[in-house]
Symmetry: C3
Subunit: 401 residues, 3 copies
């Protein structure tokens, strides 16, 4: 029925009409129980919160799509339990912590940090069948100022990983840990979690080029002005991750080599953004809250006067993120805006990876290989079953010559 012909010269090219359906790669972003990435992630110890956030007040925490309750009993032991009381399902969030466990508010059942039911006051003789009522729980450990959990198959529990950059503590050093996603918004008072997939932060970490644009030349110097020159970069796959080396000649004539490391499954070793010289002394983790939310945790060994907000970086002199208006964030976007701007899950079918995305391509190849391995019953790279094998070498650092 169309009868008129539109002259070719006026037909617009490349419009947004008729775009194909968009999609995320679910194998990277879905992290719930039983999903390929979820099962892969569960094979590693994951940091849950900073040790200082785990107290005798029960706290709700969501990790890998599971809602859990975390607390520290009167003896100092952290516990991570399934939230619904085994009895009639009331949340242990409303429970009270005692010396040896947590007591449900409704009928007083008490569970220790490993889920054993140790009291049922409304039952004859305090509960003769208590042993059948074990509250589901997850093993936890404390290390580097963080509480870690293992949420995978019990018979594949690995040894706790250790990292060369985190130990030993030097004279006077202590561990600092933050669990409020400062690695995204840079604000100690910002939101605890960020509303996007763990993969956004993961991608960000093997992307040395955005440092030049987003953090330095696009609006203001968010870190230091040395990043204003575009680096020459070498990427390298190292089996349990990817390393990049970014080279710059500084204005004062020094050669600056910045080495940054990403490790399986979601571990980030970024050297000091204040350009402190030498090997890195911190680690970061992009821990999935669920498919569309992430918590970024960081631990550092440093002197007691360490300030996680930074002292000499550009951002430290600006209004903190949580106080900025949307317009101010448009004027000076940072990692939060760039990553949240990719949406709750990025649409991988629409990406166009180019030369500068080589590190991301390596990461994804590594992730694909390891997810595949776990799907087929194997153990992923980067887990050790013997404590003697549990130390991981981390080459990150700022080096000047």
């Amino acid at each position: 029925m169309a009868t008129k012909t539109v002259p070719t010269s006026t037909v617009p090219q490349g419009t947004a009409y008729g775009r194909p359906p968009q999609q995320s790669n679910d194998e990277w972003t879905r992290v719930g129980p039983g999903t390929p990435c979820g099962e892969f992630m569960r094979r590693y110890w994951q940091p849950v919160l900073a040790s200082t956030s785990v107290t005798n007040r029960p706290k709700e925490v969501r990790i890998l799509g599971e809602n859990l309750i975390i607390f520290r009993d009167g003896e100092g032991r952290p516990g991570l339990l399934y939230p619904r009381c085994m009895h009639r399902g009331t949340s242990l969030f409303w429970g009270h912590v005692e010396k040896d466990g947590i007591r449900c508010c409704y009928h007083g059942w008490k569970f220790d940090v490993e889920g054993n039911c140790i009291e049922q006051p409304c039952e004859p003789k305090s509960g003769l069948q208590r042993a059948e009522h074990r509250q589901p729980w997850y093993p936890v450990r404390e290390q580097y100022g963080l509480v870690w959990a293992y949420m995978g198959p019990p018979d594949r529990i690995p040894a706790m990983p250790r990292f060369s950059c985190m130990e030993p503590l030097q004279d006077g050093e202590v561990y600092f840990a933050v669990d409020n996603s400062m690695g995204s918004h840079g604000d100690i008072n910002g939101p605890e979690t960020v509303p996007y997939s763990w993969l956004h932060m993961n991608d960000n970490i093997m992307d040395p080029f955005h440092v030049q644009v987003l953090h330095t030349t696009f609006s203001v110097v968010q870190f230091v002005r040395e990043f204003a020159s575009m680096p020459t970069v070498k990427f390298e796959e190292i089996g349990n991750g990817v390393v990049y080396k970014a080279y710059r000649t500084l204005e004062d004539g020094r050669e600056f080599e910045r080495v940054s490391t990403w490790m399986l499954p979601n571990i980030m070793s970024v050297p000091s953004i204040e350009l402190a010289e030498g090997p890195s002394t911190s680690l970061g983790f992009a821990v999935p809250v669920d498919d569309t939310h992430c918590r970024i945790l960081m631990c550092t060994r440093a002197d007691p006067d360490y300030n996680p907000m930074g002292r000499n970086v550009g951002m430290a002199k600006l209004k903190p993120w949580s106080q900025m208006t949307v317009e101010e964030r448009q004027d000076r976007p940072g990692d939060y805006e760039a990553q949240a701007g990719q949406g709750p899950m990025s649409l991988h079918s629409e990406e166009h990876l180019v030369t500068s995305d080589k590190g991301i391509a390596m990461q994804r190849r590594t992730l694909n290989r390891e997810i595949e391995k776990v799907m087929h019953g194997g153990d992923p790279t980067g887990v050790a079953f013997d404590e003697a094998d549990a130390m991981i070498e981390v080459p990150s650092g700022n080096f000047f010559t």
Copy 2:
């Protein structure tokens, strides 16, 4: 491909990994039109609001998953209508109440409390086909200070139920009714409805043991300290419900028998929580708003100076619920926390009913039987089709010897 073996001694037992899928029992919790429980509930008169809440200002009310408009016309008649005007669908919430009905704002159609269209001002001769435009409505009655509705099949409309505990009024007594779910949060200024299934409150009512824990020994004495001793309890099925008798020997040597009654389908007769002696003088109702919300209504016959917040109970001396922080609610959880803590719908597949849950088991057996009966075309227990049969005996009370 898994090559390493984890020593059996280090394999954790009973962890939360690999839990089976959770599920609610839909036959108890789904209450919309056409659902087994919804049709069962619709066979009884249900209280909608307190009479004092029904005025000449139209109000939105949601009950059994249906959105409705309730109002009182200029002659004092309550009306409960389908909200979308039969004409072009504007909500009667924006209508104005007149002496003989409610008028839609858009084109002025006027409907009486039984849905008859009595005016169509934009139509020739004020609407010659008005009779074809009856607005869907539900029959309502007022009793005990409440407005009740019958939302079931028209040809199964029962006589209005009466309750022995509510009449006759003694000298000087009047009816009080509250419709804001105080039975959950205890706060006359608290939210009108609660964000969980009617079944949570229903379960709560045949659970005498939580009174000892949640309301007395867990944090503070919310009612009276006499409840601090664990009772001996007898449960009994009575055809149209379940009764429990809780026995305690008080410190002053008296024997205390507390009789509490649950009646089909969602009626609760709890004796005075201030331990006023004698038969109960009130009733409560856990009326489903929808599958995941509930309104708790109460009516009481009492002297004109009756205070529904209680005078001598522990809670009366504490900060009201709606002013408490989450931390304060964690310190002193009550029925709201215990029940909301079970989630919008409890996950029955995960419950472990024990000795102290015998009353709940009886209730559920009764519910299953009656829902089944209605599904097969029968009339449920507890409805009468003749006013002469409509009085229901309620044995509840506090008795001391």
Copy 3:
């Protein structure tokens, strides 16, 4: 099993029990890509925002179910782009506008208003494959104070429509445009969009009778008191729309003829509500934001002291909509309440169109015909492919004799 019989006299008639399932007519309300109405709407130029709302600060705009970014480059050219940067998907909302385009915050890719990628700073030689990375865009034009877009198939792009009521500008006249849905709530500070389908406002416009009820006699005089008399109305289909002529004899003896026009696909020409005499000098548009939201835009040619809030209408003396409480809105509902009261999408299966809805019936017949035509490959009525055919005659006006 039902054993008792309810006497026929007590069986209520016409109750809300057992209503059939409700449904909207999706062919009118669904507007996303690929839907019948969505593809029909996309065949016309649609106004997006007022020209004054399009600045060098990128703005998110949603239209026909698509999220887009609109901005004006440093040379004054408006641009309407797909929001996700072609590179790694960050939203261009966080980009900065430059003289010749918009630059993404993450890696600095710059696109002009037609989506051409003109810079890739992190790539060798600023991006040798830039031509492959065209950002999806839509053609835009400015006219009558509005920015218009064509979102349809490129080879069916029509000439920009012109309207007889909008030109030529008379001596001293200028164009005013508002894009904040004042046509619904009447408040220059009210919400930009309204939470209901475009069809509600569309219906409203060929409904002369609600003016007598809703706007005049129901609560207060919202426009002028001349509308208090019920008009005699003639409706007429005009090929590209519907016209009504409403006749009233005024108190001063004058005969008043009010001519109002609806044009394909969603264009409204309502004469002055202050009853300014003569042909209409404005146009309105009910532009779908998505299936359940709409933006109402208006353009007017008028003297520079024109006040879009009206000067002499009843509403101008009342509290503005955005400051009213719900109760005040119940007391004095207007178009917003009547239309939002129909729900996010009206339930057409429940409507009862009567004599006074004749104009709406004509509109729907026209819509059905044109949507059908587009579904079968035809060009809809009201689009021209030659500028010489692009002028549309609009008969609206207030005429007194």
